[in-house]
């Protein structure tokens, strides 16, 4: 990609990868930085648009957020919920230790 100034450098990629909970090999850092810079550089053209006083779009079709009563409407499905668990024991998810 022939972007003169890279928007994203190798350090940025490391940071984004950490935030994304993805592991990136050192050998891939530069090419990812180039990829992301290319895409983000292309996105920069949005700066040409006059968005002064424009309200950001929040939903595709105008509608009021529906309200519902705060009551339990579903549940009692422990076994179904655990069915796809990578690891479970005695009705619980088993996960790696998170506190030493």
């Amino acid at each position: 990609m022939s972007n003169q100034k890279n928007v994203v450098n190798v350090e940025d990629v490391k940071k984004i990868a950490r935030l994304s909970r993805l592991h990136v090999e050192d050998t891939e850092l530069q090419s990812l930085a180039d990829d992301l810079s290319g895409i983000l550089g292309w996105i920069e053209q949005l700066n040409e648009v006059d968005v002064d006083k424009v309200k950001p779009m929040t939903s595709a079709v105008a509608m009021k957020s529906p309200m519902r009563k705060d009551i339990v409407s579903d549940g009692g499905k422990r076994d179904q919920i655990l069915k796809n668990a990578p690891k479970e024991d005695d009705g619980f998810f088993v996960v790696p230790r998170s506190v030493e």
Binding site: I16, L46, S98
Partner: protein
Amino acid sequence: MTDLTKYTLDEALGGMNKGDFTSVELTQAHISACESATELNAFVTTSFEQALEAAKNSDLRRAKGEIGIIEGAPLGVKDLFCTDGVKTTAGSNILDQFEPTYESAVTANMNAQGMVMLGKLNLDEFAMGSSNETSAYGPVINPWRKEENLVPGGSSGGSAAAVAADLCLGATATDTGGSIRQPASFTGTVGIKPTYGRCSRWGTVAFASSLDQAGPIAKTVKDAAILLQSMAGYDEKDSTSLNVPVPDWKASCGKSIKGQKIGIPKEYMIDGMPDDIKKLWDNGIEWLKDSGAEIVPISLPHTKYALPAYYVVAPAEASSNLARYDGMRYGLRTNGSDLNDTYARTRTMGFGDEVKRRIMIGTYVLSAGYYDAYYLRAQKVRARIVEDFENAWYKCDTILTPTAPSAPFALGRKVVDPVEMYLNDIFTVTTNLAGLPGISIPAGLNADGLPLGLQIIGKALDEDTVFATASALESAADFNSKPAKWWIK
């Protein structure tokens, strides 16, 4: 006996009504077609035994006079819709073993209307792609080909290929930036993305929630209308589902479009558009004129900003939606040295390159200090695009454009620049951003004998006019080419 896979959905439903054949016979014929077409790789999972059981039950219901909208029709389901007891992968390794214990709202609606599901159709991983090449289950091969294998488009490549190859009478699909319409264009099929909120998103694997919308891929405009009718409807489990009645869209097909105003947006005439596509667009204009419509030039000035806005909004929402795949409650888990390492290893093993790239773009544009510059600005540009359409509706009732900027391209074409692949959605993405309905119909062949589609865009909730216009275009185009069935040995 006649080849039952040659029928359109409407014809097959009529045939069963008349008692010419049963759902079991129809289903068996389609199962055989699927079995001889494994080379196309259209399915991730087949459910033939369940299909025959469902067909038997459908025949029993029919005998009792209980006949749903799609009663007894063998159909395919994109592998993004959760199906109770049938594996749902989203085309990803991270969900390779995922077997939902519940049914998506869309497929539940279809089951209630008599669907016979043949299986789950291949797609780009998490619906992120325009060629079906990002699937963890390998690419789908387009039934149409030249000397080499071509892509069926994406992300609903399996749905489009299966319908084009007569493996099913129709299929569900989803469209976030063009994922129904571009593959329909690439395979000579019809595909409609309805107004955002028509079909519930509940139980459909999420990509970009403010853009994702389900719709069908079908053999004809009328078939698409029947299928959409069976899929749509209000669902309180999706807060963006529209609480409006589902009209009889089948009745819209064939309605006169005399006096309708059709807008032609000058911004869609992009540099480097192939002559075949320009000519097709001109043909479309003539056909609609001949049908009594009036052609009006319009302007959608922010068109060029739609794709870059999409590539902020969609990855941002995807990075949030895909945060749930952490290897704890379901899906793949790859053990690491501690919890954080397990998260990272799971996601690194489970996601493919394009998905990772989009998660990272999304994470970047949402990260501290960049939110206003990217996401907020993109949402404002999106409002500008909506304004463009609102202004256009003063002048016209629907808009005619090409569906995709090219014919189907070769499988494995080297894409160095990801942006180049993104350009496939240039004509379709605007309607996702604005939430409008858009349909692609096959309108002709290019010089290589490959199908090309035209798109009709309509006002929000006005699928009625979209179907009427598409149906007029379909009659005029009289597209009846089918790919040679080279995969049958």
